[in-house]
Symmetry: none
Subunit: 202 residues, 4 copies
DNA sequence: GATGAATGAGGATTCATTCAT
DNA sequence: TATGAATGAATCCTCATTCAT
């Protein structure tokens, strides 16, 4: 069944290309990935790439944005609609969310941002505004809620929500650099949560 | 106008080149740095570079190794020769050590490893063996010592020394990506230490 | 927003495209003009272009020919039907004709022929046969008529009718290269005519 | 005698490349000439081209300038140091100078300026300032001298020195477009000079 | 040992042309 | 017919590496 060499699929192309590019960037990084390779992965000609993305850089940005979108918003929605106590929410949905991050596309995006970020300040800003700021904000707000409810006490952690993310980040970086060396990231994150809760509980 | 640094001595060359390369890599990353630029920074001709380093990759490895050497060993020596109690040591020398990491060349090396590591498994191994394993080992050993001395209790942390590093790593990555966004890394690290100590003290 | 020009009629298409192409070539030259741009100017899809013109080159030839047609024949007709004396005709209709050439599409065609001519010998031949030869022939014949009538004397100019065109050509080239530098082309042409008439009048 | 594949000839390279480029541009025009072809003609690698000329455009400019330099200055020098009467100078050195222009590199430069000039306004300015303005100026000054000396009378030609150039320009363009069609350019130019002198002689 | 001129493989991008719809 | 998505050859330019001097 030889595929028709010529298919019109305008609707799907951007995503197909974006996905192929993500896979390629994940494997080789941005610079080492040739545009032609992305095209091949997407089952598309080199020229078509430039119909949808003016430059390789623009493709790069599209890739980052495509990964980012809606990931955080889900968490925030969950936070806002939850009826769980603060502790239960942290030990439940939040913990689950955190545990899956190191194995998710987010890890790849982190890698891309570390490698290419310095040359794409606008992308860094985009990522900060849409992911980091939102995430940090959500956690902060949630902790403050716990304080209001009397579940938590005032503590330095309210101003350092990054402490929630620290083990996640370490797990991500560990996975990026030391792929084969084992690390029990789940336990790492759990233990951090234990410590944090012990620290802030009233 | 590359200054003719005092008497050009052959034996200093490798280091001079290595330092220049490190500075260049720090600014632009490995791929974006041209060999010629390193040569200029080192006040040396392009051709001479290849007398000391067969390829750009080899130079890269030399750079990573040069940064790594002796940094960790100092910490280990300090640990082994200290007469402080475990807690005092942690709150003193170890905390200081951790605090200066985000601003140190280590951060640059992390960036390089994340960007280029996948293509240099041997370098990753080298780094793991000489830095990470040693560091992790030292902390583990130290915590175990605390337990033996009765200062600390048995806990999950003995097997997760990465919890000490987590806030450091987050600080490093934050600095790499979000250069301008403020983050009180010192406080972050201190608070983590507080929590860890609270968690493991007998 | 390409206006849907009244009722799109098939038979007008070739001319519409040809006109659009001429305008584009005039602005950017042949090579720098993309087929797609011509299509847009003509309010037509890229694909349709290829229904009327097999290649960009064929379009180019059609453009040159479309500009050429009938321009010279008008002059010749006028010459043949005039009842003016030779001098009066030269100072009247011929001078007017010459004066308007530098600002006319002919100037653009000259540019195109200079740029692309070497790669289109057949087009050059076409232009020579239908424009230059005819024009030169007409002037020659007209001058000879003047001699026969006793208005003019025999002179080198009978064999060098290009002397009539010289100031026109200089004006055209001047306009093509030095768009902004002023040149009184009318006076240039008039003075040349004065000199020529002084030279050949019996 | 296989040429050494690797020769150091820094001194001569720019000119060699410039000459090769001129030849290539003369044959094919700027756009149709590939950088690699110029390299081959110059017996040089593609990469070396970019050591001496940052871009193809810069090479183009260098080519134009290399042709222009000193050509006009020679004429001006001759004018200033001549002891001939105005008429004798015009019929002698000036006429010779004009006659050789259509077959000289200047013709090629004209072609390049017509084709590529619109995209290189600075180059057009350069050419105008260093060639056209100087040439026009020299002729004007020379004619005025003739008037002062009583050889010539006041006339429109003092303000239209382009009349001297008109037959030269026509000859150049004729040669560029109608390579094979014969035209007695020498006689054309001579006759124009005859007419001009007849017109301005006191 | 030093130098930096010279090489050439590699990769991004453009655009005339084709063809499924 | 008419469209414009899709193709791929063509080309500029970069930069790690080599080597004559």
């Amino acid at each position: 069944m030889p595929k028709p060499r010529y298919q019109r699929r305008k609707q799907d192309r951007p995503q197909e290309i974006t996905q192929a590019a993500f896979a390629a960037f994940a494997e080789k990084g941005y610079t080492a990935t040739r545009v032609e390779e992305v095209a091949q992965r997407a089952g598309v000609s080199k020229g078509l790439m430039y119909l949808y993305f003016k430059t390789k850089e623009e493709l790069f940005k599209a890739v980052v944005k495509s990964v980012v979108i809606r990931r955080i918003d889900q968490l925030i929605d969950t936070i806002e609609s939850t009826e769980l106590s603060s502790e239960d929410f942290i030990r439940g949905p939040l913990l689950s969310f955190m545990k899956q991050l190191p194995g998710s596309p987010v890890a790849i995006v982190i890698r891309l941002l570390i490698s290419e970020g310095p040359r794409h300040p606008d992308l860094v800003d985009y990522y900060y505004d849409n992911v980091v700021a939102k995430g940090i904000g959500a956690i902060t707000k949630f902790v403050e809620q716990g304080v209001e409810r009397g579940e938590f006490r005032q503590s330095a952690i309210t101003e350092l929500p990054q402490l929630f993310l620290a083990p996640v980040m370490l797990s991500i970086i560990w996975g990026l650099i030391f792929k084969d060396r084992p690390l029990d990231t789940d336990k790492l994150i759990e233990t951090q949560i234990d410590m944090l809760l012990a620290h802030i509980k009233a």
